[in-house]
């Protein structure tokens, strides 16, 4: 293949946060008129790399070139002006502004400080025509469009800005299949017009169908690249995983008892589409899947945090529709994936956070304090005392308190959403041991995680969720990371 001068070249990029190396040497280049896929597991470093490309972060080492000239944006505005524009998974649309206003947002044509309305509409119209969607009304509020059309508006904005490298981050995760097909056609059209597109996706089939070349990121480094024609989704999945499970995990053989939680054809208002499962005493059931597949929404619907549309949930044989208060009383507990925003009231004390679900009408603060002091010791939390604000603890210690809340309030069914997110490796190991101990003590654990080795190492059974549908729960011995990856990406396992 003759070497064309690349539009964007990235070489030797490194970035560390504290002692953690998020990126440890990334190389790739994108030619004009190329769709370049960037694939990797959650945590492989894709988002850090995107932040560096878009100027939100500066690399510690390495260099970038745009059309042969050094490219080192100091902030996102500079990156946009240089022509590197990102369209994120969460769209950045101003819903009350019109489509035209959104398209020229930040680059409004002006004459001596006054907006040139006609020129703005013309520029917006041209951008939409370039996308072959002149039918989108320029004067409607952007918030009234469908998600797919809003995404088009964002892409049109990138074109109106004179974009040279368009970065699409998980663009199909919230689209229907028909909308996704239209998007693919559009991406090909842009490519044929000479645009460079960096395409980030978990869906390996999409990558296979759409991209010209690929780069695989793993543990912060680019570990493989090549032409997409010469590979297949299975090969890509293997390249993305490519590491071994070590002795971090604990799984003692244990006997399983009666069914504690049974979920039947559950559909929620925000997700899932359809999920059924049975969870037994002494069992750890893992739910794998991509971000946005509806895994958290499944746990939330079970716990009564999100509205349920149809289907049923029974905890301990009781099938009453649940509110979180009822679920706690039934003996289940929920660990939020977002500790800072939802899981803990950071301004309140350890004691308040630990005891909140199980308070009696009359509170004896002294007794609760003594009890909390006891839990601090049992959980090994490093804190100055029960009355310290929980926000002052480290992430790992905060997570112990969030976990302790489930234990303190007698939860038999533990719903854990990303239980090891944001904690260091030592704290992770503690959490794995704790999950193992709890299962051995006859609790039932339902655990969502994006980190496959963790699921493979701690669970008895694993079910994979793809686009809102929960697959069958199979014993962990029947899964491999590779197979989970394929099932999560919607490819036949």
């Amino acid at each position: 293949m003759p070497e064309i001068a690349p539009r964007l070249r990235v070489s030797g990029i490194r970035k560390s946060f504290g002692a953690t190396a998020a990126l440890a040497g990334v190389e790739f280049s994108v030619a004009p008129g190329e769709v370049h896929a960037l694939v990797g597991e959650n945590g492989a470093g894709k988002s850090t790399l995107m932040k560096i490309l878009s100027g939100a972060l500066s690399p510690d080492a390495g260099s970038m070139e745009l059309d042969g000239r050094p490219y080192a944006p100091q902030d996102p505005l500079e990156a946009r002006q240089a022509g590197v524009v990102m369209v994120h998974q969460e769209l950045a649309i101003a819903p009350h502004l019109t489509v035209a206003q959104n398209i020229v947002l930040g680059a409004e044509p002006t004459r001596s400080g006054l907006l040139r309305h006609a020129a703005a509409r013309r520029a917006a119209g041209e951008a939409l025509a370039q996308l072959d969607r002149p039918d989108i009304p320029l004067d409607e509020p952007a918030g009234s469009l469908s998600i797919a059309e809003q995404q088009l508006v964002e892409i049109a904005r990138a074109l109106a800005l004179g974009c040279r490298v368009l970065v699409l981050d998980e663009p199909t995760s919230s689209l229907t299949q028909a909308d996704a097909r239209n998007l693919f056609a559009l991406v090909r059209r842009l490519r044929d017009q000479g645009q460079s597109v960096i395409y980030i996706s978990h869906f390996l089939e999409e990558v296979q169908a759409l991209s010209d070349r690929y780069t695989v990121l793993r543990d912060g480094a680019s570990v493989a690249f090549g032409g997409t024609a010469g590979t297949n989704p299975g090969e890509l999945a293997r390249l993305m995983v490519g590491r071994q499970v070590d002795e971090l995990y604990a799984r003692t053989p244990r006997a399983q008892g009666e069914v504690l939680l049974s979920v039947n054809a559950l559909a929620g208002a925000k997700g899932p589409v359809s999920a059924s499962l049975e969870l037994r005493r002494g069992e750890v059931l893992g739910i794998a899947g991509l971000v946005g597949a509806g895994r958290s929404e499944l746990l939330r619907a079970i716990f009564g945090l999100d509205p349920v549309r149809s289907g049923s949930v029974s905890v301990h044989a009781s099938a009453a529709p649940g509110s979180p208060g009822l679920r706690w009383r039934q003996g289940s507990g929920f660990l939020s994936e977002d500790r800072k925003r939802e899981g803990l009231a950071l301004g309140l004390s350890l004691e308040s956070n630990l005891t909140l679900p199980g308070l009696r009408p009359w509170v004896r603060p002294a007794a609760l304090e003594a009890e909390t002091a006891d839990w601090i010791r049992r959980l090994g939390v490093r804190a100055s005392g029960p009355l310290q604000a929980v926000g002052l603890l480290s992430g790992g210690n905060q997570q112990k308190i969030a976990f302790g809340r489930l234990l303190r309030n007698g939860a038999d069914v533990l719903l854990l959403d990303e239980p090891t997110r944001g904690v260091d490796i030592g704290a992770k190991q503690n959490i794995y041991r704790l999950i193992d101990e709890l299962a051995c003590a006859g609790k039932a654990v339902l655990m969502v995680s994006s980190y496959l080795p963790e699921l493979m190492g701690t669970c008895d059974r694993i079910a994979v969720m793809c686009r809102g549908v929960l697959g069958p729960a199979l014993p962990v011995s029947e899964w491999s990371e590779h197979r989970i990856m394929l099932a999560a990406a919607g490819a036949a396992a």
Binding site: G325, L326, S336, E342, G343, A345, S352, L356, L359, W362
Partner: protein, 321 residues
């Protein structure tokens, strides 16, 4: 290790006793400037009497603010309450019925705001701003835009300064303070109020009936303002639909000076009482000094800003730890 521990200790001391320290400073200042008239039994009784309306209403506001809300309608509720009491007395109802009727009307107003806030998910600031105007209008309409003077009853004695002892209204304030302090510290509801204000999502996750807690908090807040209205009636000895205009801001200021955070999850009864006292002492002292009303207003405003600024410094320090 000893240095940071010590600074944390002194900060906690400042948090708990900061408002009290401020009150002492203000008192010392006026005592030094006007020793003869400021330091006297009678003057202290007057200060406490003048604190009672704001103090009691501020107890309810403390609950609302800890739960992360705000109620701008309490000034109007106080005015409405005096009118309702006067009207009931005019119809020759017994005093206790008039009193309960006034407080019940106030609580109903709170229930209405609370329902709008929880059911329709409207912003508390906007809802209670609307209620502020609406209830003031209702009070004026009920009273025919005139103060209503009913016959004397024992209610009028609640705020009278006798030869000995404090007015009944002051004892009522102290008793209610103890009750609210108990509610906040020793009941599940009190814990839930803090949880909702500190992080509503966490509260929901932990099974707290968030909507019910919010509704109750607005009912209680308005109910306490109603009791404040009873004392206001007693003080004025009439039902005045224009009384208490702007009082809600003094009430909120008392709570904030007392160390509560407008973003919720923080606040104490003792702090609120001290905050209310600071407001009255400043007004009283300025009068004793013969300062014009506009100077008082500047001083009070300055104290509010200072209190919030100190709170900001404290919080920033805590985040750095």
């Amino acid at each position: 290790m000893s240095a940071p521990t010590k600074s944390l200790g002194s900060r906690r001391l400042l948090t708990s006793f900061g408002p009290l320290l401020g009150l002492l400073l203000v008192c010392l200042l006026f005592a030094a400037l006007r020793p003869a008239t400021f330091i006297s039994r009678d003057n202290f009784a007057i200060i406490l009497q003048q604190t009672a309306v704001i103090g009691i209403s501020a107890l309810g506001m403390t609950l609302v603010i800890i739960a992360g809300g705000i109620d701008l309608s309490v000034g109007s509720i106080i005015g409405l309450t005096t009118v309702v009491i006067a009207l009931l007395l005019q119809q020759h109802r017994p005093a206790w019925q008039a009193l309960l009727g006034g407080v019940a009307a106030a609580s109903l107003c709170g229930a209405f705001s609370g329902l709008l806030i929880t059911r329709l998910r409207l912003l508390p600031f906007v809802v209670t701003l609307g209620m502020m105007g609406t209830l003031r209008g209702v009070a004026k309409g009920l009273a025919g835009e005139q103060p209503i003077y009913p016959d004397d009853t024992w209610i009028n004695g609640l705020m009278s300064l006798g030869k000995t002892g404090l007015p009944g209204g002051v004892w009522l304030m102290l008793g209610l303070s103890a009750a609210v302090a108990l509610l906040l510290r020793h009941t599940r509801f009190g814990r839930h109020v803090f949880a909702v204000g500190s992080n509503e999502l966490t509260a929901r996750l932990c099974g707290v009936p968030v909507e019910r807690v919010k509704l109750l908090v607005y009912v209680l807040g308005a109910g306490f303002a109603g009791i404040g209205g009873v004392l206001q009636f007693s003080y004025l000895t009439c039902g005045d639909p224009t009384t208490g205009v702007g009082l809600e801001l003094n009430i909120i200021a008392a709570v904030v000076i007392g160390g509560a955070s407008l973003s919720g999850g923080q606040g104490t009864v003792a702090g609120t009482l001290v905050g209310a006292l600071i407001m009255t002492v400043v007004a009283n002292g300025c009068t004793k000094l013969g300062l014009a009303n506009w100077v008082q207003e500047i001083v009070t405003g300055g104290i509010i800003i200072l209190a919030v600024f100190l709170d900001f410094l404290r919080r920033r320090g805590a985040e750095r730890d």
